[in-house]
Amino acid sequence: MINKFIFGFFYKNYICYACIVFYLDKFIIFVTEKPQLYNFIKMKILVCISHVPDTTAKINFTNGDSEFDTNGVQFVINPNDEFGLTRAIWFKEQAGANVTVVNVGGADAEATLRKALAIGADEAIRVNANPTDGFFVAKQLAEVVKNGGYDLVIAGKESLDYNGGMVPGMLAGLLGYNFVNSCINLDVTGTDAKAVREIDGGKETLSATLPLVIGGQKGLVEEKDLRIPNMRGIMMARQKTLTILEPVGANNTTKAVKFEKPAPKSAVKLISPDNLDELVNLLHNEAKVI
């Protein structure tokens, strides 16, 4: 008679499987080790999501040029945030992690949060406030991070609408967490993170321990790795929790007073390929750039 007992156990952060086989009064033990590191406690990741107009959207302003005109505009997950979200889901699939997405915004941003859930995030939080100032937004996010005890916070290095590029840094500053900006690659082993950031003319590899705030961009994953939600994901997203929080008191340090559109461009000057001397002349005498 053969009796088999299979069980899993942890050893030095590795998950191992053992199998004890009893056969004719003898027993044999097999032990295998799952190849990748397993964190005892699942890493908690918070991905900050901006709800921004699609790149191809027409940019117009309303109310005496003081507000963005959302009329007929398609909103999407901010591209820099989507690279981070996809990397977070990669961590979840590789090593097990819990991924929460958060947005500071109005009810209209919930469609964008649901999309993030459909892509694979586990739960969503919306802080019910108008995100008009980077510092105000960072304050709200800091509160969410403190209450949720996140190990890793990933935000896009800048949003496509205001291009402020300040929320990740301010958030890290408010929390006193380690911070890597313009991050193009990130790996986490236990509580140690290795991050690669873009520098002018190259890249730099950094090491830091969690908790960590990342200002992410393309490179965290590539464009081909981005996911389009499938039907199952969309159905599941409806069941996932979306918590609405009221904002904490914080100052608005800045205010967008007015918007302007660039002056209409004059038509291109076409130069014949047989008359490149003219191009050189124009670049030198008219444009004064060579």
């Binding site: 800045t254 007015k258 660039p262 014949s272 750039v289």
Partner: protein, 322 residues
């Protein structure tokens, strides 16, 4: 009270953008009757800053700061701002400066505006004009805090000489271990090549060049112009050129004086990334390419004939004018 600028010093000299920042600060200082202080880190010679309006240099000399550390640099700048009672703290828009600036803003409880494209619209209330919506609009931002932090876009003001001499003072901020919690393990930097961030002229190629083997002519043109080379997203996705050359919305932003696009059709995402360049030249065989709508000068024709010819013409022009 003074205006503090963080003047980046790299590879033995100040970046041109540091002088632009000094010029920008001097203008405001002139209007408000204050002085300009520059914070530098391990700068070997700070005299040049005086030529552009800096009155005083606080030079931090520390072996611990040889490798870049955003938090430590931010801490040093914060302490300098407090020491000088600076009401305005100015940064460039380099990758490093944009990393540090929000940390400094939070530490000083200052409102922060990035992508600033011109001198303040008004000093009281304090309003600045900045790029927003990926260069498709400008946004006038009012900063309500006592201390203001700004990041000035490259080429948005210009460099102006302002003969004065700067006094140098050594400055030793107190830095703690937490400032160095993020450590640089290794750094890879292309040497001997103009980077896109520093370049006054960028020569960029798209799928119209048909393959990586055809980049030679583009590099020759760039060499004659002292330009950096760049590429469109499809080109880097295809692996023809390294990712570090990809410019556009998800790639590097370009704010050069002259941008020459060769065989790039001009997708909206590409334009968003390069639109703050002052002068745009397009060379494309397709007269209907959308890039022609945003360009200043265009040549419709075969890039394989035009580019080498243009290189020769510019070479001749340079020889004549040097």
């Amino acid at each position: 009270m003074s205006i503090l600028i963080y003047a980046e010093f790299a590879e033995g000299k100040f970046k041109k953008t540091a002088f632009e920042l000094a010029s920008y600060a001097k203008k405001i200082a002139g209007e408000t009757g204050t002085t300009v202080t520059a914070l530098t880190i391990n700068a070997s010679n700070t005299a040049d800053l005086g030529k552009y309006g800096v009155d005083k240099v606080l030079n931090v000399k520390s072996d611990k700061l040889t490798a870049f550390s955003a938090k430590a640099y931010a801490d040093a700048i914060k302490q300098a701002a407090e020491k000088e009672s600076a009401k305005i703290v100015l940064f460039n828009s380099t990758t490093d400066s944009l990393y540090i600036a929000p940390l400094v803003a939070v530490a000083l409880e200052a409102g922060y505006a990035s992508n600033v494209v011109a001198q303040p619209v008004s000093l009281s209330p304090f309003q600045v004009k900045r790029n927003a919506f990926s260069n498709k609009a400008f946004n006038i931002t009012e900063i309500n805090t006592d201390v203001k932090v700004l990041a000035i876009g490259k080429n948005s003001y210009g460099v102006f000489e302002n003969a004065a001499s700067a006094t140098e003072e050594e400055f030793s901020p107190s830095l703690n271990d937490a400032d160095f919690a993020v450590k640089v393990e290794s750094s890879e930097k292309v040497s001997g090549k103009v980077t896109i961030a520093d370049a006054e002229i960028v020569v960029s190629g798209g799928r119209g060049l048909k393959g990586p083997e055809n980049w030679g002519m583009l590099e020759e043109l760039a060499a004659v112009l002292g330009a950096a080379t760049a590429c469109s997203k499809p080109v880097s996705d295809l692996g023809w050129r390294p990712h570090s050359e990809h410019v556009g919305q998800t790639g590097k932003p370009v704010a050069s004086n002259l941008y020459i696009a060769i065989g790039i059709s001009g997708a909206i995402q590409h334009i968003a990334g390069i639109n703050s360049s002052k002068v745009k030249v397009v060379i494309n065989s397709d007269a209907d390419a959308p890039f022609f709508k945003v360009a200043d000068y265009g040549v419709v024709g075969d890039a394989f004939e035009i580019v080498p010819k243009l290189t020769e013409k510019i070479k001749a022009f340079k020889a004549q004018n040097s």
